[in-house]
Symmetry: C2
Subunit: 701 residues, 2 copies
């Protein structure tokens, strides 16, 4: 195992970056850092560095061709009939839900030759960003200076709910207030939401994820990590006015490209102490859980083929997260990185200290963040395992949602837990009433693991553990909770919710009773988190953001928030261990890697690909890397050229990109994309998907 980049190679590039971030006047060492707000594009930098001046029309087309997957990914409209391109691994969740023991879409792939063959997804919602408005003043209006952090936090949460509700009423659009700069600004985003989404095409997982966990985040790569969905409106394909044209020529080495997508979260504005918390508490604990889940689920999957099928999607998700966090933690454990962070922070704090007004207003902010982390460290396990952490079991997730939904509905929207605000109820209900398949064997395995995890963390005699286990072993309790559980029926879930409090409180369902029994404890730790951690952080980071703006101007981009961002940079390789990694791979490289690894295990290929080898143009570009600043959530983002044509499809970052959560190092951080030419050629030659090729190629604006 190696660190993302050698300690010796990195400092110069990043120290220059620090200088550039802190003192905006210096020319950037590498201009490609930044996940820019679509309403605040870095026009000056683009013009200066790349002589490119996007028109408002160009930006609008990019914005309205970009698609957000509510499940946590990105995509783009690529035809006038609502055709959406994204990654196979973004769609994998849906492929799993649409599979049966007899038809394994992950393994076999899928192709709808006609509209009638397209498969409606059980619970997928796609969002297209329509408008943005700065509502910072309105959000902060209710939080007066005399309030303590908890009261200020409550006031802001209430204001946000009111703004969202009013916007939905006025526009009919899904409305979300986004917290930027960790609390420095608040913007209202409205989206067109589409919930009739159908599967059009997916390749076999073997080629979509060729090389598996071994090659994940590595490069060179050879993955057809794509799939196609179609948005329907009123039962017919969406007439998509805005969409991306498909470039016939793809991108060239050194060409400037743009990526529009929804990076999930970065923490580049975090303080040094906040990073120490990540290094010493958050990442170690989350990784330990990932190791546990991976070993347990791998053992479960090995038992038989059906287990392997039903665990496959979860297992890939766990492995992907594990590898990403491993490299992020490795970065945080590299003293060079934290030293750089310290220099940057010292410079900013010195500047604040030198100005009496700023010192009085913002000087204590860093210590307040540190204090919040100490509190968080003390409650981290309980917050993660009682309040969060029921995600992997569908039944437990549903039980928790029902218990909370019935409770929260009785309050005014602004006083509810935020995910139950009026503007978010449709998301809650879509997930709760999804007809996705639920597998008893996997549920028992998962719940056994989750219950044992809590017993191990808190001790077998902890009062909450006693409530969870009810006098049984984790395995026996999981058997009891899953065996005969009525919540696997959508109707039963609906009935419980409709029955309200009385139905809930008289329900004999063991999972409901369990979730009810721990609800007070879970809510208590959540309140403590919101009041003593999050609200303190919000106020402190708002101060730090204000100080940063005062000293640097507002040319700083905010951390990622799973909202639309623009990033850009050239198609280019990087230097690793003295050798240059070339930016493009080809189909020829795919077959070579397959041969080198004897086609075993993760390196097997689908029969279609083995058969097509003689007819495929082997020099077709397949994957490429570019210096754009992305992170998880960007999966499925379109890569476009200056003309706004689609030249690639983001599906991964290289290993050095994984520390990008906290710092961007342009000398080695690369995004990995499927080449538009590779996709089109594969569709044509390997899959014979002529109808799809025609639709894509006929797609002129």
């Amino acid at each position: 195992m190696r660190t993302p980049s050698t300690a010796a190679a990195r400092p110069l590039a990043v120290l220059a970056l620090i200088a550039c971030t802190l003192f905006g006047t210096l020319a950037p060492a590498h201009a490609d850092e930044g996940m820019w707000l679509i309403n605040r594009p870095p026009l000056a930098g683009l013009k200066e560095q790349y002589k490119f001046e996007p028109t408002p029309q160009w930006l609008e087309t990019m914005q309205k061709s970009s698609v957000r997957f509510a499940t946590g990914g990105s995509g783009s409209l690529v035809s006038s009939q609502g055709l959406v391109l994204t990654n196979h691994h973004v769609g994998a969740d849906m492929l799993a839900k649409l599979s049966t023991p007899k038809r394994d879409l992950l393994r076999e792939g899928f192709r709808a030759a006609t509209l009638q063959d397209e498969l409606r997804c059980p619970d997928l919602a796609l969002d297209i960003l329509w408008t943005i408005e700065d509502v910072t003043t309105r959000v902060n209006a209710g939080a007066t200076p005399d309030m303590d952090p908890a009261a200020a936090g409550a006031a802001r949460r209430s204001a946000i709910a009111a703004i969202e509700t009013a916007s939905e009423k006025a526009t009919g659009l899904k409305s979300e207030v986004v917290t930027l700069y960790q609390g420095g600004q608040y913007h209202l985003y409205t989206y067109r939401r589409f919930d009739d989404v159908r599967l059009v095409f997916a390749p076999e997982q073997e080629i979509a994820f060729f090389g598996g966990d071994t090659d994940n985040f590595e490069y060179p790569r050879f993955n057809l990590d794509c799939c196609f969905f179609r948005i329907y409106e009123n039962g017919a394909p969406l007439k998509s006015e805005h969409h991306l044209r498909w470039s016939a020529d793809g991108a060239a080495a050194d060409e400037l490209v743009f990526v529009f997508g929804h990076p999930g979260r970065t923490r580049r504005l975090y303080t040094l102490d906040h990073l120490r918390f990540m290094r010493d508490v958050e990442m170690p604990k989350l990784l330990a859980k990932a190791w546990r889940d991976e070993v347990k689920l791998t053992g479960f999957a090995a038992r038989n083929e059906e287990n392997a099928r039903i665990a496959s999607d979860d297992l890939h998700g766990i492995q992907n997260g594990r590898k990403a966090r491993t490299w992020l933690l490795a970065g945080l454990q590299d003293p060079v990185l934290l030293d750089m962070k310290k220099s940057r922070e010292d410079a900013l704090r010195d500047a604040v200290a030198r100005d009496e007004t700023m010192r009085a207003g913002y000087g204590s902010a860093w210590d307040r963040v540190a204090q919040a982390q100490q509190t968080y460290a003390a409650i981290f396990d309980r917050y993660q395992q009682l309040e969060n952490g029921w995600r992997r079991s569908s039944l437990a997730r549903h039980a928790r949602t029902i218990v909370r939904l019935v409770d929260e509905r009785e309050k005014p929207s602004g006083e509810r837990l935020r995910e139950y605000a009026d503007s978010r109820l449709d998301t809650v209900e879509r997930a709760l009433f999804s007809p996705e398949p639920i597998y008893d064997a996997l549920e028992i395995e998962t719940l056994t693991n989750e219950l044992a995890f809590r017993a191990e963390t808190f001790g077998g005699d902890d009062p909450v553990v006693t409530l969870l286990l009810d006098g049984k072993s984790p395995a026996a309790r999981a058997d009891e909770l899953v065996g005969g559980c009525t919540l696997r029926s959508v109707d039963a879930r609906k009935k419980l919710v409709e029955g309200g409090r009385s139905a809930l409180e008289s329900s004999p369902e063991p999972l409901i009773r369990m979730m009810l029994s721990i609800d007070n404890a879970a809510r208590a730790v959540r309140t403590q988190y919101e009041d003593e951690v999050e609200s303190v952080e919000r106020l402190a980071y708002a101060d730090i953001a204000a100080a940063t703006f005062a000293i640097e101007g507002d040319t700083v981009y905010p951390d990622a928030t799973f909202t639309l961002r623009m990033t850009f940079g050239p198609v280019e390789g990087w230097k690793e261990g003295g050798a240059m990694i070339a930016p493009f791979t080809t189909f020829a490289g795919l077959y070579q890697r397959h041969a080198d690894r004897k086609g075993l295990g993760e390196f097997s290929l689908p029969k279609r690909w083995l058969d097509a080898k003689s007819t495929l143009p082997l020099d077709t570009p397949f994957n490429f890397v570019c210096s754009v600043d992305i992170i998880g959530g960007n999966s499925g983002s379109p890569v476009v050229n200056r003309k706004g044509e689609l030249v690639g499809l983001i599906f991964d970052g290289n290993l050095p990109s994984l520390v990008g959560d906290v710092i961007y190092d342009g000398s080695v951080n690369r995004a990995v994309a499927v080449d538009s030419r590779g996709i089109l050629t594969a569709l044509d030659v390997v899959y014979g998907a002529k109808e799809l090729v025609r639709e894509i190629q006929g797609s002129k604006k």
Copy 2:
């Protein structure tokens, strides 16, 4: 995942057991519990239950035919020419050390057709138990009642070293004082030690470990988990007066069988609070490390074939330990088990409380054990990670040994850390000067993992972590420690040891410097462990043992201590989920399982076995289960019949046996063995090893 046995099925059998243990007069529900001392066999029970009365000669032959592998396993002499039978997985460590990139003995197996072809093992020592003497009085003599636990502990450790040294001087035999009943008794064991041991035969790992981690601890099983070594003395095969004859007929269902072997450790006499410590601290922490190691090493092995080869033995070890601990923890998390323990303990404590003398002498013992566990919980991580836990990296292990050996040699034997006492120095030097291969890639991987583990546990700014990392990331530091490390040469290690303190203190070797830098911290936590945990436990458990003997008589067997024990019971299956599991499997079942799993992954078979299918008598018994009380360390133990003939070879326990560390449930706990007929037929038909078959069959006393 299921618990070892259902909560409903277990209580009766075990409650009866408790009654039997506490009040020796009741007839045992299942007589097969017990790892009996060879000098205190349960003659009355054997006679009553099985009408069997072993003669002293029978017992002596069993004792002197039994072999202990210093690396942690058992075996037996099976010919008059020093031929030793054990498990493939006991020999795997040697097979790995004897392998090269071109000759992978684990994958290919090995057969020496003549004595000249046998391969000498680089660092294997085998012990045969010769005499036993009770030295309890001598050990306790120096520990007077006015001493605090730490001083008493030091006095006992010093007495033990003196007894061992005197015995070695007097007898020339390797001498070890064994602590029984957690401190209730001390026995002096002397061994004939043999250090010229050569590899004779090993099958391919594919058939030795058919089914891999998936089938490990499961049943039915189909594993040829055997290999053969030969003891040499003065350059010639040992003339072994005592050895086991090989049964031609094997064992029959329901037949009484005996197992002689070296169970490593059980904790059946632990108090309730001690088990709570295991449940809430020890097992969760050790398992978390196992998950971590397994995921990291699996990723390393996946990178290429050479990585897979060099990591294979470690990986199997990690997976084996992980599965065993998983099921042990599952048992501890079953409230039924701890409730049973509580009933048993309450009864004993009540009996003590009712007698004024016993109350005054022993009444506080349980609370003192609990107090020791609280202390241990607080220092557990530091003790494990600074003092222990350098085992997986050969280079780090060697560096630690050199640092300690040079230091300890300067003190009198009785004042040294116990593993450096005169009587143990040959073991230390054998390991330190072993010419086993050391692989840089694996060393870097392992050290990166170990360093990162410490940084995650103690935090990146912990002073000891700062010493360990020396301003670098874990990966960069591991690169530095391994790259150019001189300790991979046996000569360099010898030279450093011979050079003594001055050579050590001036050594520029980074690993030596690192181990020196943390040695004070490591020794400090060890002292705290020995004084505040171990010594307190020893005194408290001596009191509990005395109370138990007073109330129950001394018919209680001591917990396992990796010394020779006898256990017995019938060949029989067990009931699982309403169905009976049959005791025997056959070669036919092997080929069926291979076909059912399509021969993929862990279920592949060597070419020899595929080719031999048509000529093998498919109804030959292959594996069987019996109700004998074994645990890790018993691997490789012979299974013998009343005539003392070898009928099988222990290689595993079933899943319900894994909670046997703390409790034995005769209704479901089964040991798994290779049938003597299966081994002989495979040697003959599959491998054509006529010379080995002749030696085994010609082996008459």
